[in-house]
């Protein structure tokens, strides 16, 4: 009897376990289609990608974060856009004219533009958007560029005119970045709380079909798209916070594209034939670079010899090989190499420890007590590198630098800090010696906010305290010069001074890496400077290569 009861328990347990494991799907049939075969362009289909977080709002001027940009850039247009070589071309504006005194820009919109809800898109919408972005009530993070506009007017349906107090070269870039919003739906609404942020109406290739918060966002083609129809019918973006889970979904064929890190790109995927068979890998120049920045208000970083010595002592190629598995490049100016603004004559400081020692000796640092570490006036050359935690590349880079600097007698410690604390407790207060951080390789060359000596107040971006009258003058000139060739000369000179002065050490610019399923065809090859996604509206998914379960719907 007793043992009978116990057996009943076992039976119960086994039953539960069996129940738990019995809900299995039939294994998918072996794939017989060949993804290598090229097909003709065709409309329809679905492209599934993934993103690590939900956008906070679908009005980009309010949201401001990259997750929002990723979705809204498919829904809204700007007046201008960048072409595949990163030159400005028309978007909503058919053409634009700059007045003789270079202070006024007149945009002429394309004729017969329409919003997705069939209402006409006119210069009144552009004017409304400008008013919204500078409205203090909206507290848009991107207001500053547009606050420089002295006057904006919409004299007729297709004309929009802005004038500035003085010529402002980054103006066109700013108008390319401003997504135009529909006045008829937003007038009188609070842009933070309006229901429009969760069901926007735009003018671009796609419109929002469905947004399940924290799960997925579905876009379908906009019949009124001002640039003509895109080919793929639906874009689905799944929200999957964990990178490993995203990759598992990619492996299981549940998503079509994702960004990769160097290990997945160069080790994991090449080692698996079944993944190679269905995935194309893409490598493009990234949009940002990593640097080591000195607090120039702290000794001894006010001494250019010390900064240069540290620059020579760091082996950048070792960092690129060790941290990025070779998937990055050295840079010598804060611009995308190969583009107009990047000065091709500049070369990064080479790895030269002997020169580093020499420079430090000149600056007064010698090893007086024979412990292998350098001192000046009895004080050792030691400092702390801080960076934000969670960024593995930066953390590893710090370790490489620590070892190289130890070799020439500099004692470095490393500290990583959570982002919000890092910003408010250390960067804003200027309470740091050396940071590892990144800046974007912007499309417009103006970097006034980062390097001009007037931009040092707490919360502004020249937090390293860089103060160089030559650079100040060049930055001011560059902002008011609209002639591209003259502008190019100014920024080439600026980059040269910056490199010589070494207020930061350019460490590396990692490549942007991605995998896209081979069922997606029509991807531009070779990748232009604007990146692999540049003309994604021309991508298509041939019918035989589409997913079964979704084709049924």
């Amino acid at each position: 009897m007793q043992s009978g009861r116990i057996n009943l328990h076992y039976a119960l347990l086994t039953g539960i376990l069996l129940l738990l494991t019995s809900c299995q799907k039939e294994p998918a049939e072996e794939i017989t289609v060949s993804y290598e075969e090229k097909h003709l362009p065709v409309e329809g289909g679905i492209l599934i990608s993934s993103m690590s977080s939900d956008p906070s709002s679908l009005i980009y001027m309010i949201a401001g974060e990259s997750a929002s940009a990723a979705i809204t850039s498919n829904i809204f247009n700007g007046l201008l856009k960048y072409d595949k070589n990163l030159d400005l071309e028309s978007d909503l504006a058919e053409h634009w004219e700059i007045s003789a005194d270079k202070k006024t820009i007149t945009f002429t919109l394309k004729p017969n533009l329409k919003w997705a809800d069939d209402k006409p898109l006119t210069s009144a919408d552009v004017l409304f958007t400008w008013q919204a972005v500078i409205d203090p009530k909206n507290a848009s993070p991107y207001a500053s560029d547009f606050g420089l506009v002295k006057q904006a007017e919409a004299p007729n349906e297709r004309t929009f005119r802005v004038s500035y107090d003085q010529p402002y070269a980054p103006a066109l870039d700013s108008w390319a970045g401003l997504q135009i919003l529909p006045k008829h739906l937003l007038e009188g609404q609070d842009l933070h709380t309006t229901a429009f942020t969760r069901k926007p109406v735009g003018s671009h290739y796609y419109q929002l079909a469905d947004w399940k918060h924290g799960q997925n966002i579905t876009l379908t083609r906009n019949p009124n798209s001002v640039l003509g129809p895109a080919r793929i019918e639906r874009l689905v973006t799944r929200i999957i916070p964990d990178n490993s889970a995203q990759f598992l979904e990619l492996m299981a064929d549940n998503i079509d594209s994702m960004g990769l890190d160097p290990i997945k790109y160069s080790r994991i995927i090449p080692a698996r034939p079944e993944l190679q068979k269905k995935l194309n890998l893409y490598k493009e120049l990234g949009n940002s670079y990593t640097y080591l920045g000195f607090n120039l208000k702290h000794k001894p970083f006010d001494d250019v010899r010390v900064r240069k010595a540290i620059n020579y002592a760091i082996d950048k190629q070792e960092i690129i090989d060790g941290v990025y598995l070779g998937l990055g490049i050295n840079i010598a100016s804060p611009y995308k190499p190969g583009t107009r603004w990047s000065n091709p004559d500049l070369k990064p400081h080479p790895y030269d420890p002997a020169k580093a020692r020499q420079l430090l000796k000149e600056a007064g640092f010698t090893d007086t007590d024979g412990d292998g570490m350098l001192e000046r006036d009895g004080k050792p050359l030691a400092f702390e590198i801080i960076t934000n935690n969670g960024n593995k590349e930066r953390e590893k880079t710090a370790v490489f630098i620590q070892r190289k600097l130890k070799e020439i007698g500099i004692d470095v410690s490393i500290r990583t800090i959570e982002w919000a604390s890092f910003i408010s407790r250390f960067i804003k207060t200027g309470d740091f010696d050396v940071v590892i951080l990144g800046w974007g390789l912007g499309l417009d060359p103006d970097q006034f906010n980062i390097w001009h000596s007037s931009q040092q107040a707490p919360g502004q971006f020249n937090f390293i305290g860089y103060n160089n009258p030559t650079v100040d003058r060049l930055l001011e000139q560059g902002r008011t010069e609209l002639d591209p060739d003259k502008r190019k000369k100014i920024y080439h000179e600026f980059a040269k001074v910056l490199l010589d002065d070494s207020p930061i050490v350019y460490l590396s610019a990692g490549y942007g890496l991605s995998a896209i399923h081979k069922r997606v065809q029509g991807i531009i090859d070779p990748i232009p400077p604007a990146g692999v996604g540049y003309d994604s509206h021309k991508w298509y998914v041939p019918v035989p290569l589409r997913r079964n379960e979704i084709a049924e719907n």
């Binding site: 507290a139 560029d145 924290g214 799960q215 999957i240 964990d242 919000a420 107040a457 919360g459």
Partner: protein
């Protein structure tokens, strides 16, 4: 008894205020606010606009004033609106003047978290109670030892690691279960039965993995409670009366051994609304854990305070319910309270 209950409920009010005050100040001890997010490092975003945002959310006022404003809102049970998601309601849906309904953040995150945790608790108990009884009955026998071994293996394995391995094996290699998310993309087109099946298959891994890895504690509780009870004189008496072993174990011993379980369940009530950040991140479940974690990272104070307050209230209610249930189940306790 009624007097006792009223006293307990009234006592909860100052307790809640105290908890919220401490939470509010601790939250503000961490450096940074909503403006120290991703755009804080975009050179196109000016400090001026961040200052405006701080004014808009009263973040430029002293902490005690901000607490006062929060408490004033809470007095009308208004949890406020989130900073980070641009004024989404924290707790429940709100309708604007045009009739557009904006769902609350807790409202969206809570159902899925509750479902996962209730299912998980149920599975844990369904496994832990029989396992505990077997372990106690066969104390020091091979059954006991293998149950202990199994439990401790589950206890020691990091949940995220096991999750990733199982996601790979069950999702990628075999395509038996979905890997992440809570619904398939074609969920809307399924029949009701299909929807249930779809949800259950998505929840399989996120529910079972934490239940199994969390089995050890409760099994030990049951086993030790059972062992204690089996030593008691009344069990010896029951056996001496000649009752069969089944009645001794299930009618006499088990009921006493299960008493501590009431406390455990009572204490797990607040846990039911707090999801696991790691599990929700890995399985891409938009639940309470992820909501709270993101809110802390973004310094989204209304959401942090909202979740903490709901959690604190549920903890107090859970304690009260556990005490009441104890009194109901155990006459000895009941007599103690009445006196």
């Amino acid at each position: 008894m009624l007097k006792y209950l009223i006293k307990r409920v009234l006592l909860m009010i100052p307790m809640l205020i105290g908890i919220s005050l401490i939470s509010f100040f601790i939250m503000h001890l961490a450096p940074g606010d909503i403006t120290s997010n991703e755009t804080a490092f975009n050179p196109k975003a000016s400090e001026e606009s961040r200052q405006k945002l701080r004014q808009m959310y009263n973040l430029d006022k002293p902490v005690i004033v901000q607490y006062g404003l929060w408490l004033k809102r809470m007095a009308t049970l208004d949890f406020g609106n989130s900073f980070a998601s641009h004024q989404k309601p924290v707790f429940w849906e709100k309708t604007d003047k045009d009739g557009n309904v904006t769902k609350g953040m807790v409202q969206e995150a809570l159902p899925i978290t509750l479902l996962i945790n209730v299912l998980g608790l149920f599975i844990t108990l369904a496994l832990a109670v029989p396992l505990g009884i077997i372990a106690a009955r066969k104390h020091m026998g091979w059954q006991d030892k293998s149950i202990t071994l199994f439990n401790f293996i589950g206890f020691s394995i990091p949940g995220f690691w096991l999750s990733l391995l199982l996601m790979y094996w069950l999702g990628v290699v075999n395509n038996w279960l979905p890997i992440s998310g809570i619904h398939s993309l074609n969920y809307e087109t399924l029949s009701t039965w299909g929807k249930i099946k779809d949800t259950l298959s998505h929840l399989m891994m996120p529910v079972i993995i934490p239940s199994v890895t969390g089995l050890a504690g409760i099994t030990l509780f049951i086993k030790n409670g059972m062992l204690d009870v089996l030593q008691q004189d009344y069990i010896t008496t029951a056996r001496a009366k000649g009752l069969n072993e089944h009645r001794v174990i299930y009618t006499h011993a088990l009921r006493n051994a299960l008493l501590p379980l009431i406390t455990i369940i009572g204490l797990s009530i607040p846990g039911l609304i707090g999801g696991s950040v790691i599990a929700e991140t890995i399985f891409a479940i938009p639940g309470m854990g992820k909501l709270f974690y993101d809110a802390v990272l973004m310094r989204d104070f209304p959401v942090v305070m909202g979740v903490l307050t709901i959690g604190a209230a549920l903890t107090l209610i859970g304690n009260l319910l556990a005490d009441i249930a104890y009194a109901w189940a155990d006459p000895r306790v009941r007599r103690g309270v009445a006196r």
